[in-house]
């Protein structure tokens, strides 16, 4: 698997898009820091960008890479290699190169700004960790969609729909449910609802860490009680890990049954 990972990774490192992605984050980091002059505010703005953009890029890159490397995959399938190592190697190649663009692109300007002497280092690390999780999650989901759809256009369509659903529509439905049932106690429902969407979960984690939960009103207090504790943090990270592990297992399962 490591060999496949190496080749996929090199392949992506040579592609223009990795640099565009890296340069975008680099620029974003520099602009936010040096025009804003306030580290915490910069982190909040970054969060808003990361929460929406990272899943979108992960989804599109994942689907695109899978379809574009179809020929490479077929070449590999005839070699003495396990299917699971071929697909996991490719998946990790995409996910790791995207995560690296994110971490380096945002990390470098922050390091030069003097992150290590600042108190915001934990908030910032949390931001990068959730960003990496979101990359792993959405690349895995994208691979799942691509593996199940031979038709490129359909695959792209489903992938974009999935992103739209989790990033936008889910929140809308969630809000409607909360309004519709406002007479009932909803703390458990809203906690579970947040756990079930990796984007919401990441957003909540970061917001609470930044200590601006007062903005969230009553629900914020409940969330703070849960996510603010170590217990809540651990449960959230388990939930995020499950969001990675389950799709990855499905990649392995699906790839074993597929005809090429």
């Amino acid at each position: 698997m490591l060999k496949i990972l190496k080749y996929s990774f090199y392949d992506l490192m040579r592609s223009r898009w990795s640099y565009v992605y890296f340069a975008f984050y680099l620029l974003l980091g520099i602009v936010l820091l040096f025009l804003n002059n306030d580290l915490s505010k910069a982190v909040i703005t970054l969060m808003n960008v990361i929460i929406i953009l990272v899943p979108l890029i992960g989804t599109i890159f994942g689907v695109m890479y899978y379809y574009n490397s179809k020929e490479f995959t077929e070449l590999l399938l005839a070699q003495p290699l396990k299917r699971s190592s071929i697909f996991l190697g490719q998946y990790l190649g995409v996910a790791i190169s995207l995560s690296m663009s994110l971490i380096l692109g945002l990390g470098l300007p922050f390091v030069f700004y003097g992150l290590f002497e600042s108190s915001a280092i934990w908030d910032f690390s949390l931001l990068l960790i959730t960003g990496t999780f979101l990359t792993l999650i959405f690349t895995a989901l994208a691979f799942n969609i691509a593996l199940s759809n031979e038709n490129k256009i359909k695959g792209f369509g489903y992938a974009i729909l999935l992103w739209l659903f989790l990033a936008v529509i889910y929140d809308g439905i969630f809000l409607l449910v909360l309004i519709g049932f406002e007479e009932y106690p909803l703390d458990k429902v809203s906690l579970i609802g947040t756990m079930l969407n990796p984007i919401d979960l990441s957003r909540t984690l970061i917001l609470l860490k930044l200590d601006i939960s007062a903005l969230l009103g009553y629900t914020g207090a409940i969330f703070k009680q849960f996510f603010g504790t170590n217990y809540g943090l651990i449960v959230s990270f388990i939930a995020l890990s499950l969001w990675v592990i389950v799709p990855v297992l499905r990649i392995v399962y699906k790839s074993k049954k597929k005809d090429f």
Binding site: K3, Y7, D11, R14, S15, S69, K70, E71, F72, E74, L75, L76, L77, A78, Q79, P80, L81, K82, R83, K256, K257, K258, D259, F260
Partner: protein, 235 residues
């Protein structure tokens, strides 16, 4: 070398292989023939483990191939359409495949044989169809495996390369290898193969030498023999 028992495969509603039994002994060139869509490529891909059969058992060198990938060390495969990652250089591709399988020196001789040296630093996306096929041949023949599977090896080749390919196949045969070939070029098949296997509607219709086929169909030459099978069964 290779045995196949009751192989069945359906793609959607299309039953491609319906209970196919076949075995290839050690040594010799076997041509797999059949009309378009008869299941030749599906059969080959099943042996390679690229297509997962619905039913049936395939053994290669005495080992069942399900849930096993190591047996592919014993097989050299030439895919039908040479589709390679287009942003890779020829040199890099050869190096990569060697890295994934095993080290070999044979590639240098083959590159020389097919006159590929000027193309080594070119990207695969820039190569013509015939040159790609030559690269494909180098990748296939550079490992010295006991089983060689060639899916349409002649496509896009110029006459000189075709001659070299025929010589290459003969040399490999003399080493005692089992070579499976699919081709639509009947003169090539007639010249090169020891035995032919004719697949029709997902089953083996005929297996034997070309002389046996001519007697069976009562036709004086090979091309007409094949044509007569097709007209008899599609009339």
């Amino acid at each position: 070398m290779v045995t196949i028992q009751n192989l069945r495969k359906k793609f959607g509603k299309n039953q491609v292989l319906s209970g196919l039994d076949l075995s290839f002994g050690a040594g010799g060139i076997f041509a797999i023939l059949g009309p378009n869509g008869s299941g030749k490529t599906t059969l080959i891909k099943s042996v390679l483990g690229m297509v997962i059969p619905d039913k049936g058992e395939i053994t290669v060198l005495g080992k069942n191939i399900t849930k096993n990938s190591d047996y592919r060390h014993q097989i050299d495969y030439l895919p039908q359409i040479a589709n390679f990652p287009s942003n890779l250089k020829v040199k890099e591709l050869i190096k990569m495949i060697k890295d994934l399988r095993k080290s070999t020196k044979e590639d240098e001789r083959l590159i020389e044989l097919f006159k590929l040296t000027p193309f080594l630093d070119k990207k695969l996306g820039q190569l013509s169809g015939g040159t790609k096929q030559k690269v494909n041949l180098v990748l296939t023949f550079m490992f010295d495996s006991p089983i060689i599977i060639l899916d349409e090896p002649t496509s896009g080749l110029d006459p000189i390369s075709m001659l070299r390919l025929k010589d290459l196949i003969q040399v490999e045969k003399e080493k005692g290898k089992t070579i499976l070939i699919t081709s639509h070029i009947m003169s090539f098949v007639e010249e090169i193969s020891d035995e032919i296997v004719f697949i029709l509607e997902g089953k083996i219709y005929f297996k034997g030498t070309i002389t046996e086929l001519k007697t069976k169909t009562n036709q004086p030459d090979f091309e007409h023999a094949i044509a007569s099978i097709l007209t008899d069964n599609h009339a």
